[in-house]
Subunit: 513 residues, 2 copies
Amino acid sequence: MNGAESLVRTMTAAGVDVCFANPGTTEMHLVQALDSVGGVRAVLGLFEGVCSGAADGYARMAGRPAMTLLHLGPGLANGLANLHNAHRARTPVFSVVGDHATWHRGRDAPLETDIESFARPVSKWVHTSTSAQDVAGDTAKAIGAALSAPGGVATLIVPADCAWGDAEGPARPIPGAPPAAVLDDAVEAAARALAGERPAALLLGATALTEVGLRAAGRIAAATGCLLYAETFPARVERGGGLPTPQRLPYFPEEATAALAQASRLVLAGAVEPVAFFGYPGLPSELAPPGMPVETLADPAHDAADALERLADRLGAGADPAPGPPAPSLPPDGPITPTTLSQVIAAGQPEDAIVVDEGLTVSAFYVAASGGAARHTYMALTGGAIGQGPPSATGAAIACPDRPVINLQADGSGMYTAQALWTQARERLDVTTLVCSNRVYGILLEELARAGVQRPGPQSTGTTSLGDPALDWVALATGMGVPASRATTTQELARELDRALAEPGPHVVEMML
Amino acid sequence: MNGAESLVRTMTAAGVDVCFANPGTTEMHLVQALDSVGGVRAVLGLFEGVCSGAADGYARMAGRPAMTLLHLGPGLANGLANLHNAHRARTPVFSVVGDHATWHRGRDAPLETDIESFARPVSKWVHTSTSAQDVAGDTAKAIGAALSAPGGVATLIVPADCAWGDAEGPARPIPGAPPAAVLDDAVEAAARALAGERPAALLLGATALTEVGLRAAGRIAAATGCLLYAETFPARVERGGGLPTPQRLPYFPEEATAALAQASRLVLAGAVEPVAFFGYPGLPSELAPPGMPVETLADPAHDAADALERLADRLGAGADPAPGPPAPSLPPDGPITPTTLSQVIAAGQPEDAIVVDEGLTVSAFYVAASGGAARHTYMALTGGAIGQGPPSATGAAIACPDRPVINLQADGSGMYTAQALWTQARERLDVTTLVCSNRVYGILLEELARAGVQRPGPQSTGTTSLGDPALDWVALATGMGVPASRATTTQELARELDRALAEPGPHVVEMML
C-alpha cells in the first residue's frame, strides 16, 4: 500500500466518499488510488473554483465533508475564493493539495510556490505531510479537524513522493468534536433579556436556522413578542411550509441598524455580533445601535438549536403557533423584475427544493417573497466571494440526488464559475439555474449611487456594465451540454421553470430583466 | 485630491496607463479616480484571472507594467494563478488590491482575510498602505519595484479609507533598476567554456531571446559549433524571418538530459540551471547530466543580450550566417493532428504576429514547425498555471493594436479563463484563438502512461476526459460575442485561419483533433 492508498482508505473509513477533483501530474498517484481502493465518487470540475464550491454546497447539505483534490499552489489558488466562502460558512472540507516530491522542492521548478501561505487564510487546519508513512494519520487528523465544531476547511498538502511511497496502512478515523452545549447561565441571561418590557431582537445563525432551532425560536417569539431576525447570508436555513420566518437582517448598514433599533436589546443565537459588510465613511462597523445591550445565548460553535429549545421551555412558551406567511401566488403576466421573478420562483418551486441563492441584488426580493413557499432549504453566499452559486448547486445536487436544486444566479457572478454547468451535465444533476440577466454589476451601481455618483463616468460605467457585448446564456449553457431557454415575461418564466423542473438533468433559464 | 487620485496621478506619471480591472465596493473610489484623473484605459475582465493574465501578456509585449485592480482577498485569489505565471515570467505588474477601511478591519466582516498571505508567494514586493497620505509614495515604490530587473509583481493593498481620504498629491516616479551588465570575467569564462574541443551547449533565456541576443547567439554558434537551446517555456522570444532558431529544451526530463548530453558543458545566458518540471521516481531534479560543467554567462537579472554580443566579439565571431530553417508550407489536406495543425498555422501566420502558446501537448509540434515562419513573437506558459492563454493574448493585443495575435490554445486550459473572449469582443481585439479540441487533459494521459498505466481505471479516465458532454467552443465563443467556426480538416483550418486573420476583431476556430 502506498501513501495515496492509505489516504483513500482512511478517508473512506471516516465516511468521506465524494471527491471534487481537478488533478495534475503531482496528484496522479492519488487518482490511481481512487481506482485501486474504490468507494469514492470522483467528480471532475473544469476549474478548481467549481471543485471547492461544490465541496461547500455538498457538505452544507450532507453534513459531512467531501474531499477536494487540487494541483499544487496554482490549483489551490483557483479554488481559494470558494474555500473562503466555505470557511465563512463553517463548512467542513477535506482539501487535499498535491505538491512536488520532497526532494524536488527547493529547486525552483516552475510550479513551486508557498502552498501553505495560500491555504492559511481560508483554513482552520493546514499541514504538509513529510513522509508516506504519515499520510494516513495526517488524513485522519485533517478530517477530524474539518468536522470539529464549528466546521471548517482542513488543508492537507501531499508531496508526490508521500503519495507514491510505501505506507503501513490506513489510520483510525478521528471523530470531530460536537458543538458544545451552552451553559444554563447563558439560557438564564437570555431569558432575562427577552423578558423586558420592550421587545428584544433574537438574531439567529448557524444551527439556530435548522427546523428544531426555528420552531423553538417561533415559540420564543410567540411567548415574548421578540423580533426574529436571521443573519443576512446564512450557510443554510430551512424555510417555508409553515416554519417560522425570521426576517433577513438587511444588507446595507443603515437599514440593518434601523431594523435592530426597533428592539430594546439583542440576543444572539448561533450568530456573532453583526457588523457591516463593508465600512462606509461616517458609519460605524457595528450594526447594533450604540449602547444597545447584547446577550449571547449561543455562538456558532454551540448547539444553538438545543439552546433555543431550552430557552423556550425556560420561558414556558407553548407550541409554535405561527401559521407562517401565506403561500405565494403567480403575479399577472408582465415584465421580469426582481419582484416578479421572485414571485414566480416562490410560487413554482416544488416541495423539498434546495435553493442556492447567488442573486445578489435580487436576493432580498426572493427571500421576502418565499417565506410562505413550499418547504425548502436555502443557502446563501456566505463570504462575499462571487462565483459560489453554480458550483455550490452542483455539490448540493450530488449530496441530495432526490431533491430538486434551484440556483438563483446573478449574471456577473455566474460568469466566474460557469464551468460548473458542464459538471452538472456530465453528472446528470437536477439543477435548474435561473440567471438574472441584467447585464450590469448592479451592486456596484448601487454603491456608486450611495457614494453620491448619480451619473457614473465612462471608466465607472465601463467597469460595471456587462452589456457590450451582451452575454448569451443560452449559447453558453448549450456549449457546456446544458439545455437552455430564455424568458422575457413572467408567464414565459413560469412555463420554462415548470419545464426545467419536470425534465431530469440540468437546465438553464436566462431571465431577461 | 484623495488617496485614489494621488495613486492614479502617480501611476500615469510613471507611464502606467492601462488598468485591467474587476473592482468591487472597496475599489469604487479608485474607479472614480480613473474617471476624474483621466489618462488610463480601464479594461474590464469578467473574472480576475483574465485581468492578471492580461497584465502579464500586456507587459511582456509593452515592456512596462499595467495595473490590475482586484477586490480584496477573494478577488486577488482568483487572479493568483496568472500572477504566478507573471512572477515566473519576471513580468512587471502593478497589482492593486482594495481592502476594508483600516478601522473596519479586525471586525471579521465576511470579506475580511489575510490578503498579504495570498499575495506574498507571487510578489517580489508587497505592502499595505496605512494612510491616504502614503498611497502616492507607495505607488511610486511599487512601480519601481515591479520594473527593477528582473521584473516582477508588486502588490499594493489599499484600504478603502486610504483611497477616499485626503492626500497631498502625486509622488515622483521611481525608475526601475536596469539589468546589470555582466562582468568581463564572466564573458572570459564563457569564452573558455565554449572553446573546448567537443561542442558546448548554450542555453538561452530572458533577454537572450531578444533579436539582439539571438543574433549574437547565432554568431557564437557559427564560430564555436555550440548547440543552441532555448528554455522550454520562455516569457517571450523573437522567432522566424531568418532569425537563429535555438532548439526548445524538451519538457520531459529524460529527453532534456539526453539533449544536453550531446554537449560537453553547459553555458547559461539569461537562463538558470535547468530543472525538471516535475520530480519523477528514480530521476534527478537537475537536467544537466551528472558531472557536466556549468558556466553562467548571465542570469535573468543581467543584460544577457549585451553579454552575448560581447562574448561573440571576444570570440571573434563573424556576422550571423544562419539562413534559418526553410519557410513552412501547407500540408496536403487531411485530418487535423498536432503535426498538421502546427504546419497550417506556421504557414498561415502573417508577418509580425504575436503567438501566445498554451497548446500544452501540441506546443512542441508547433515550435518545431514554426522556426522558419514569418517573423513573430512567441510567448509561452511560464509557470505551469493553466488558463494563461486567452487572458495573455488579450493583454498582448492591447499592448500591440497593430499586430495580429494568435492564441494556440488547449481546450482543457482554455476552459479556465474562457471569459477573456468577452473582453476581446468588448475591446474589438484582433485575436484569433485556435482551440485544440481533443477533449482530454492530454498531458495527464501521457503522465499516466509514463507511470506504466496503459489502461486507466474509471476514476482516472473520469478525471482526465472532457468528452462527456463534448464542449462546443463555437457556442461558447458565440455566447461571449466572438464569431466562431469549426475545422475538421487541414484545408478547412487553413481557410478559417485566413478568414479570421482577414476580418477585424476576435475570432475562435475550434480545431477538431
